[in-house]
Point group: C3
Chain length 155, copies 3
């Protein structure tokens, strides 16, 4: 049987595992943020979620949308749209034998940019804060994709 | 050349592969559920999708939203938001050499919780059925992330 | 330390890495398409994004929805819903030792179908163009899931 712990002794792969776990955990906190705003602002989308606040017409007034809840949801969806490519491309990039310091620079920039993106989206900070954070994460992912396709293209 | 079938002889990895494939297949069925409700209830969002039901003004009446279709779409998006972290963190966790029975407990709880979440969302069951299902899946993923970061942090 | 470059000498895995990188890069371009339409059509969802176009009431008129922007966003979300299962199932399938030509056929069909799906969604082409593209990608992913579960089920 192959000793998988050997894979975890590869430094680039370990770094990828750490940064990927951190950014995925951050993304999961967005669910908690949505739930927090829904409960404190009493803004729901499913009738069964606000059943305890009243019956019939009384409950219906909680079925509405709210700027703050929608903002968190957009930040969450933007995370999903950008973290999925990072996971897929980053995993393959980590296995392609890149230079350790280059790889760690990519991972750090991506994780930092996505955390800053969330702060800029939720505060909200004036543009171009959010746009810059988005494009740093976007550029890092394309840089890894470029390296993968340049050195290992096999179609 | 490395014999990759060796990776598939690792029991934790094989278990992860099985559970991940099952929960991803379940998630894909949500697309079919959306399509089913759109067609049986004649609720569409793209004009080209209901072109066969009539022309001009006659077709426009099918471009609307429907509670049931929106409910399936929310369940689908919630799946995506929770299954993506499970895939990323679970893959890295599987490769980090966890105890087999602990790992399988994590995978079973997650897959069971997400299937129950879908049932609770689509029926719909009264709260806190759906909330509990959500938090079991959420807790399992964080438990794997915690183990990964505790034992293998490399920044 | 395990020589990870060996993993990249496995032809099925290299092919998966190439096709996965291509389709993820295509998905990322959807963000650029959304930004392009938002800027050229002046359609925004966050007040801070159109602050430079005017102050107060003058800026509010840009906070609206637009058919073309919503279409790109739906295509992007559909990509996400279908590419995530492909990544997860495809990665595990690649590691399960399939026949090289069968595997490459799966990857090519999926990538071709998703690119055609985007073209059919954004043009838009009349149905059933988009539906067929969707079901080809869907079927390919289920075919890989079926092979994985048939040969390697471990629960």
């Amino acid at each position: 049987m192959v000793d998988l712990t050997e894979l975890m002794e590869n430094e680039v792969f370990m770094a990828f595992a750490s940064y990927a776990t951190i950014i995925l955990s951050k993304m999961m906190l967005m669910s908690t943020a949505t739930a927090f705003y829904r409960l404190t602002r009493k803004v729901f989308v499913n009738p069964e979620d606000c059943a305890s606040f009243g019956k019939g017409e009384n409950a219906k007034k909680y079925l509405r949308t709210d700027d703050r809840v929608e903002r968190v949801r957009r930040a969450h969806l933007n995370d999903l749209e950008n973290i999925v490519p990072f996971l897929g491309i980053g995993l393959l990039y980590s296995l392609s034998g890149p230079d350790l310091s280059t790889a760690i620079l990519h991972f750090r920039l991506f994780v930092g940019a996505r955390i800053y993106h969330t702060i800029a989206y939720l505060t909200p900070l004036p543009q171009p804060n959010r746009a810059l954070a988005f494009f740093v994460g976007y550029g890092v992912t394309f840089s890894m994709a470029y390296r993968l396709l340049k050195s290992r293209l096999y179609l």
